[in-house]
């Protein structure tokens, strides 16, 4: 563990931007998201969590897969693989965990996705522990926590005027090259420990037994009611760090064009609509069930992991206050347990 004074942060970030594309939380009129910064002073580390998760650095909202020129006798295709070295700076431990889950999708034994994986390989993750997790967080129920290090290369723990820096990987160590940082002394370590102990994640969901309940509840009448207030707006999927559904479309003019991949959502009716007009998930009931099933059953079946990190964004951003914790509790037949009043 090392010690970084807060006044050293700017210089460090400035230095990183020389060698890497640095993506850090940027506050634009109250909306925090991960943007590429040119200088350290553009970023803010005083935030709860970003509106949109940093998954967009590795899996952008929209990206070119390849561009083409179509001649009469010849088609030329040019892949658009992003090979820039990147740092995601100041992401929360829950979002770091989301990359481990997304890896299952983009790097499974059958097909590898070079767009995501090339970025993934070239990206170093610098986490920022959560001193005050908001009330919508339930990361500890999903095997993560406000100071979890899983998936991170470095973790910053804010102890007031300094950060205790946990170096977790060699890649993390490399980001510190040329910086002469002192080891964290006893006092700093104790301060970090105290911060960690004080960071209570107040709400929980019960995952135990959930999968086996979902295994047998595809036809359960609870789906008839539970989706009713859902508007199908897909804010939950758009702000979810583990949602990975996408669309592929062509953008072309004349004989030149590009194939574009964009985020898409299982909450939209067109998502599964066949050309023939048949739709296997024709109403909001089937679509809502799909979202819940995918995260807590199908993903578990396929990858032995739950596709949720407990970041709470779907709760914060739902326009009708549909709360996934209550959905889980309803499936479990229990109430949400909360330590907070």
């Amino acid at each position: 563990m090392l010690l970084l004074k807060k006044e050293q942060l700017l210089a460090w970030l400035n230095k990183l931007t020389q060698a890497y594309q640095v993506f850090a939380p940027v506050n634009e009129e109250g909306c925090v998201s991960f943007k590429q910064i040119e200088a350290g002073d553009q970023c803010t580390l005083d935030y709860t969590n970003s509106k949109v998760p940093p998954k967009e650095v590795l899996f952008p909202r929209s990206e070119y897969l390849f561009c083409y020129r179509c001649e009469k006798e010849h088609v030329e295709l040019k892949e658009q693989i992003d090979e820039h070295k990147k740092v995601i700076f100041g992401l929360r431990p829950c979002d770091a965990r989301s990359f481990l889950l997304l890896d299952n999708v983009f790097r499974n034994e059958r097909f590898q996705d070079p767009y995501y994986l090339t970025r993934r390989k070239n990206t170093v993750l610098v986490g920022l522990g959560c001193n005050q997790p908001p009330a919508t967080c339930f990361c500890t129920s999903l095997g993560s926590g406000p100071f979890a290090t899983e998936g991170l290369d470095l973790l910053l723990v804010d102890i007031g005027d300094r950060y205790v820096l946990e170096v977790l990987t060699e890649r993390g160590q490399e980001l510190l090259s040329g910086m002469e940082l002192p080891a964290a002394d006893q006092e700093a370590r104790e301060a970090a420990q105290k911060v960690k102990e004080g960071a209570a994640v107040s709400s929980r969901v019960t995952l135990e037994g959930l999968k086996s309940k979902l295994d047998v509840s595809f036809d359960h009448p609870l789906w008839d009611l539970i989706h009713e207030k859902c508007l199908g707006c897909a804010a939950c999927t758009y702000t979810c760090p583990t949602c990975h559904c996408f669309d592929i479309v062509d953008e072309a003019q004349g004989n030149e064009g590009c194939r574009v991949r964009s985020w898409d959502a299982c909450m939209f009716p067109l998502f599964t609509l066949h050309g023939s007009g048949h739709n296997p998930r024709p109403t909001n009931k089937e679509r809502f069930r799909q979202r819940v099933m995918h995260k807590f059953k199908y993903f578990v079946d396929n990858f032995n992991a739950t596709a949720c990190v407990g970041c709470g964004r779907c709760i914060l951003n739902c326009p009708v206050n549909l709360d996934i914790r209550e959905v889980i509790a309803e499936i479990q037949g229990t109430e949400v347990r909360s330590n907070k009043q």
Partner: protein, 278 residues
């Protein structure tokens, strides 16, 4: 790293009108070297790109025994298939694949085969029919029976195969039906599932392979069970809206299974384990 989302440039070399809204496209790769790694098996699918419009998942209707070309029979239903139907021989397209699993042709060796198709649903079956009828493969399989129906005589796909080729192959029978009577049609009239029950083929040492409109598949599956076919010998191939074809874009799943990588071919015994969401 191989890029599973990047198509191989290819050229349409021949277009055959099958019905008023179905065309068969014969396609070859522009780089002949692609054939070394594009080795499909009967039942697999591919993504066809119409550059400027997009991609669609289409079953490969030609048998892998027909080397050096791919055939896709495409019904005009939506944006991409509409654009494909506008193309002429010589047009450039892109092909990604082969994708998905295939018919269990090894396991079927030594058995009789019963094919039951409706409309454009004969397209994926045709890859397996020609595979078992071609050359040396023929000796590995028993009787081949094909029950096939369409709305009208004009809507029967692969008329050359149905009337001129398959019925003359050894150990092969073709039963045709159309939905409603029409002038000039002396054959059977009625829906495919009821024709199947009329013919009443024995389930003994026989695999049944079916594809057609969802409602036809549903009734064929129940007719086959009534006839005594075990779930492990009833096979179907499913269609879903797909984008990536490689199990990532999230739309073609039935329960935990993705039709693009775990399918499109399923045994009835497997389908019974999945939610009825297709």
């Amino acid at each position: 790293m191989d890029n599973p989302l990047k198509p191989y440039p290819a050229t349409i070399v021949k277009i055959t009108d099958e019905t008023p809204d179905v065309k068969t496209f014969q396609i070859v790769f522009d780089d002949p070297g692609v054939w070394d790694h594009f080795r499909h098996k009967p039942g697999q699918v591919a993504q066809i790109s119409v550059f400027g419009v997009g991609e669609a998942t289409i079953s490969i209707t030609s048998s892998p025994t027909r080397k050096g070309l791919l055939e896709f029979s495409v019904k005009r239903v939506g944006l991409l298939t509409g654009a494909l139907h506008q193309l002429e021989a010589g047009s450039k397209v892109g092909i990604r694949g082969p994708l998905g699993n295939h018919f269990p042709y090894e396991e079927m060796k030594g058995s009789d085969l019963l094919f039951i198709g409706g409309g454009i649903g004969l397209a994926p079956l045709r890859a397996l029919i020609d595979f078992v009828l071609d050359g040396e493969n023929r000796s590995h399989y028993g009787q081949v029976e094909i029950i096939y129906g369409a709305r009208s005589a004009a809507d029967l796909c692969f008329k050359d195969d149905l009337f001129n080729r398959w019925p003359h192959m050894p150990g092969t029978k073709v039963y045709l039906t159309i939905d409603r009577p029409e002038e000039g049609w002396n054959g059977h009239v009625g829906f495919v599932p009821s024709y199947l029950e009329e013919i009443s083929p024995s389930p003994r040492n026989r695999f049944a392979i079916t594809c057609g409109p969802p409602v036809m598949i549903k009734f064929v599956l129940s007719a086959l069970q009534k006839l005594g076919f075990p779930d492990e010998r009833i096979i179907t191939t499913l269609e879903m809206k797909m984008k990536c074809g490689v199990g990532k874009c999230g739309r073609c799943n039935i329960g935990s299974k993705f039709v693009c990588v775990d399918g499109p071919v399923f045994y009835l015994s497997q389908l019974k384990e999945l939610p009825p969401e297709f």
